[in-house]
Amino acid sequence: MNNNNSIIEVKNLIKIYEDGDVLAVDNISFDIKKGEIFALLGPNGAGKTTTINILATLLNATDGEAKVNHYDVRKDPDKVRKSIGIVFQEPALDTEMKGWENLELHAILYGMSKKERKAKIKEVLKLVDLEDRADTYVKNYSGGMKRRLEIARGLIHEPAVLFLDEPTLGLDPQTRRKIWDKIKELNDLKMTILITTHYMEEADFLADRICIMDHGKIIALDTSENLKKQLSGDVIDIQFEKIENQMILPQIINQIREIPGVKNVSFGDIKENQNMMPMEMNLPKNMPHIDPAMIQARIRDIMSSPKKLLDAWKKFPMASQMFLNAPLEAKKRISNMFDDSLLDEVPEEIKSEIIKIKKGDYENIEQDFEPKLSISCESGGKELPLIIQKINDNNLKIKNVNMHQPTLEDVFLHFVGTAIREESSDRVKGIKNLIQLRQLRK
């Protein structure tokens, strides 16, 4: 490739997991330039971690090409591994060892001499402000200290690029801020950083360029500024009062779309979806105080996969209680994650609830359906009256209107909301045939 400025080059990368025909990464291509912070942004299951695992040579790609520091991930995994430092989503430290011992083991695994090691360990510890805690056992570290130690470890062997997989997941806001500052500081020292996150504000704050992924595809790739510019103008959020006839909504959305100046209408609100679990839920009295942000992050993580949910239900009675008390919308979403075979493993109480929801027992009781629309338009002041008029024509009541400049979140909603979603199994078949054809040709 002629572009020598690129640290990472990804071309037509495809990953299909052998068991289960899951298309995790769907023909993506991107370049990461030297010295930039590049963010992979997307919801859980968008394919970010799979992409990182392929780049880190932990997984083989099904098709396509990926180069890290000009080495092919498939042909030169050894050299690729030496070119990257990686901080995983979940801590990967030996907690029974001291801080510096973790670093020393890493340095030896990466083939550094004793003299190099000593100097470098000192240097990276200083960089993350852990010099005075080097002799402490990692089990006594706080969450933020562990993260910093992992970042330090990732830097010891002087990698060409640092991978950070959800670096602030589960950290409290202050610690998060500190980690962000460290990341910025590293970047000022010319370190190239690839970061995955599902926090918009994280990508917005840190990244030079943002790559939005959903369902294994890249749906937008640009600087945060440019992404927002694509949504120039205003964003209007409209919250309706309860709607009895839901069938009217698509009709309204279409009518609003036809208004000149309106660029896009999407349904729902990301923030609300993420905070599905009510924060004011009643925690047991004997619970130790834990930062709510941490609980939220944990819950969000658990709700991302049926397996984790099953685990939680089995182990903690509180988790099943939370499910039963959750808002209907959340329950519905969770129910959809369980097909008949998975349902057998679900505890009785929850199983019957899920079956009820699936049968639609609650459809009639559904009183408090208050949909929300997010409309992006050229000039809010001009279009807002027209929009409201359309809504009035349909005899719907508005509860709340909010107009603001587009945030990255709106950008995300804009792209994810309009992406075409085909039936994924058909798509997998198509791609599999394609790959077979290619192999035959060879």
Binding site: E18, L58, R81, D94, G111, R153
Partner: protein, 266 residues
């Protein structure tokens, strides 16, 4: 083509050493493990050593000190317990995420496997020595100068015996997903291997169906070789002991490294 991208480079010996060292340091630091292994040993020695001393054991009509007989069996058994549980330490690394750091390092998986096996084998060796020295101190082996070379000779024997057992522990823990299956392993693998190994009773004192079961247990041969070295008493020819031990060790290390190479860590 597999999902996993595995490095096939050679074994990196400095990495092997640091991994082995990690096992040893970890063992030394968890005082509860050191103390419980000592206490267990003492318990075995006194309960079985004293309790079984009333049985007369003879080989070819020559009576044998039953306490020495039991003590040497127990020294061999230490390998079984520490070896398998040491191998299970891999489970901990898998569950607490450290395994990821290891498998993303630029070393082959065989390096990781060899390092860990060596570390646990050395740790097992230390425990066996502690056990033998305890037995000598309480006088179970009598006081005899020939004990010195016997103890030295037991070192390679113990190392050989532990390779297969550690391989077994590693194989099991690469396949297990959680600690809950731990009890199963204990009940269906470790305990039968322990009871049917002849560590606590003489081969010629049991009915023939039991003898057949014993001969099917690969660990019987390790116990037998231990006795040959420590006591000069043996029921099975030396060449067969060594053959089975080498075969069992090689087989399990191969199986272990195979499943280790296939292990997914996500």
């Amino acid at each position: 083509m597999s999902d996993l991208n595995i490095i096939n480079s050679k074994i990196n010996y400095s990495a092997v050493w640091i991994l082995a060292k990690r096992e040893l340091i970890g063992f030394w630091r968890s005082k509860s493990r050191v103390i419980s292994s000592l206490a267990q040993g003492l318990l075995f020695l006194f309960v079985f050593g004293a309790g079984f001393s009333s049985f007369a054991i003879t080989i070819d009509g020559v009576p044998i000190d039953s306490r020495a007989f039991t003590a040497s069996g127990i020294a061999a058994i230490v390998i079984l317990f520490t070896g398998v549980f040491g191998g299970m330490g891999l489970m901990r690394d898998k569950m607490f995420g450290f395994m990821k750091e290891l498998i993303v390092a630029p070393v082959s998986r065989n390096t990781l496997m060899v390092g860990r096996t060596l570390g646990i084998a050395l740790q097992t060796l230390m425990q066996v020595m502690i056990m033998i020295i305890l037995s000598i101190i309480v006088g179970y082996f009598g006081y005899d100068l020939s004990l010195i070379w016997r103890v030295i000779l037991i070192l390679p024997v113990a190392l050989l015996a532990s390779i297969g057992i550690v391989g077994m522990g590693l194989t099991i823990s690469t396949r297990l997903r959680d600690f809950q299956s731990f009890g199963l392993i204990q009940t269906f693998i470790i305990m039968p291997m322990f009871w049917i190994s002849g560590a606590l009773f003489a081969f010629n004192s049991v009915p023939s169906f039991m003898q057949i079961a014993m001969l099917c247990n690969p660990f019987t041969y390790s116990v037998d070789l231990f006795r040959l070295v420590l006591l000069g008493v043996s029921y099975i020819p030396l060449w067969l002991d060594i053959l089975v031990m080498v075969g069992f060790g090689t087989l399990l290390i191969l199986i272990g490294s195979r499943s280790f190479n296939k292990m997914e860590v996500t």
